[in-house]
């Protein structure tokens, strides 16, 4: 996290990756599991190569849904948290309903989503949004409330209004919280989109995304290809996580303590 682009960022995961893959192979050997329960990394890679055109096309489709839902969550989450951070009474009146929205199983909402957002991409984006929205709100709200009271006193003395206090003080101070929320959302977006494809993607030709491939490989018991699909979804997620990590670095490295000072 600290020096963003150093060797260790690449070398160590690679080494631990080798260990991980070694472990994987030995689990296979020791447990006597078969390929259609736990394929080896080699088998998965072979399947990925073999199926790469389908995987790529599907990843493109899922990426669109994931990106849409993620951006929606990032933006709406930001503004919702502002509202919640702005006043205690807004918080008391809105938070319980937000919690309910988050805690209602998506399947219950699917018919309504189908009806209002429409099936296909709009529905997929809505479901992805629903899944990645709350972590952002919960985090940013906690961040907005955690502002240093001395800084708040400074703003009060400058006669700052509530909006200035939130936008110029609480929001920058809460950025690390927001970014932690975005990081969670980034990992949720691709699986959210896959889930969304499952739930509402079908009604208008849901044979596009990774969600469909998961279904298809599953019924065809093409387990290595199924794991290759999961791997593709992980890679997609990594792109999102990397984007958030970059944003984190860009916004915080100059001043925040999670980045070590030049030399101190």
């Amino acid at each position: 996290m600290k020096k963003s682009f150093s060797v260790s960022t690449w070398l160590l995961p690679a080494v631990s990756g080798l260990i991980f893959i070694g472990l994987w192979y030995s689990v296979r050997v020791v447990s006597g599991l078969q390929s259609w329960i736990l394929p080896t990394p080699g088998e998965i890679m072979a399947a990925a190569v073999h199926e790469h055109t389908r995987l790529l096309a599907a990843a493109g489709h899922t990426a669109l849904g994931a990106l849409g839902g993620f951006l929606l969550a990032a933006i709406l989450g930001f503004f919702t948290s502002l509202l919640l951070g702005l006043s205690k009474s807004l918080r008391a009146s809105l938070y319980p309903w937000l919690l309910m929205l988050q805690m209602t199983p998506v399947i219950v909402l699917t018919p309504i989503i189908m009806l209002w957002a429409g099936p296909g991409m709009p529905g997929i984006i809505t479901i992805t949004w629903l899944i990645s929205y709350f972590p952002i709100v919960a985090n940013l709200t906690q961040g907005l409330l955690s502002t240093d009271m001395n800084h708040v006193a400074l703003f009060r003395m400058c006669n700052a209004n509530r909006w200035q206090e939130v936008l110029l003080l609480r929001v920058p101070a809460a950025l690390p919280y927001y970014l932690a929320g975005l990081r969670i959302a980034a990992t949720l977006a691709p699986i959210g989109a896959i889930f969304g494809e499952y739930m509402v993607g079908n009604a208008s030709g849901g044979t596009g995304g990774l969600g469909f491939l998961v279904y298809s490989y599953n019924t065809q018991i093409k387990i290595p290809a199924l794991f290759a699909t999961a791997l593709t979804s992980c890679l997609l997620g990594f792109v999102f996580v990397a984007a958030v990590a970059w944003l984190n670095w860009a916004l915080l490295h100059k001043w925040h303590d999670s980045f070590e000072r030049a030399d101190h």
Partner: protein, 258 residues
Amino acid sequence: METVPPIVKFTSLQKRYGVGPVILDAINLTVAPHDFISFIGPSGCGKSTILKLVSGLSPGSTGELTVMGVKPREARDRQAFIFQDATLLPWLTAQLNVELPLRLRGRPEAERQTIARKMLELVGLAKVADYYPRQLSGGMKMRVSIARALTLAPQLLLLDEPFGALDEMTRNRLNEELLAVRAVAPFTALFVTHSVSEAVFLSNRIVVMAANPGSLHAEVAIDFPYPRRPELRGHPDFQAKVNEVTRLLHEVEIPPSS
């Protein structure tokens, strides 16, 4: 003095934090326009609390306090506060930290930058305008905080040990600069310090406080005319006042029991 309405008026004010012990008791004080009052007293006697009360950041418990005739909070737009800690925003450069109060009042960017730069020059920090707080030394941070408060040209300035972290020469120079600023844009000042000579040099009134609970022990009038020149510090009358305040201070400072 009878005709001019007071800038700050404490009437039998008492202060506790929550349900804690009495911190300040029976505070009666009337601050006239253009007073420069220094508060001096033992650590923990309630000096910062007095300033927090005047600023409205902390409410009084019983008694009354008005600032410019209204409740403290309502007079905030005419006050500025230099806190005991520098309280800089870590994500803003020195320059932007100084600009902050102007930004909060919606002043245009060009004006903000000019004023901020002037104030940074005043405190000798123009060279580090682009540094982030974590790159500044303790004294430099405090000076940025002073520059920030001065941008507003307030009617009432609250200063909580602003010069405590500075070396003597910088401190003396800033004492003089502060009076020079005040000559151009007059303000009333409530000033907390631990330096008797600084208090004598700056103020027209010095309030010596006692602790347990915090109360106003004595007041000393310092009637050297303004503008005051640096040479004043060498004058025997100056030394006499310093000695008088020091003596009063020794009266209240029983070594803290425990």
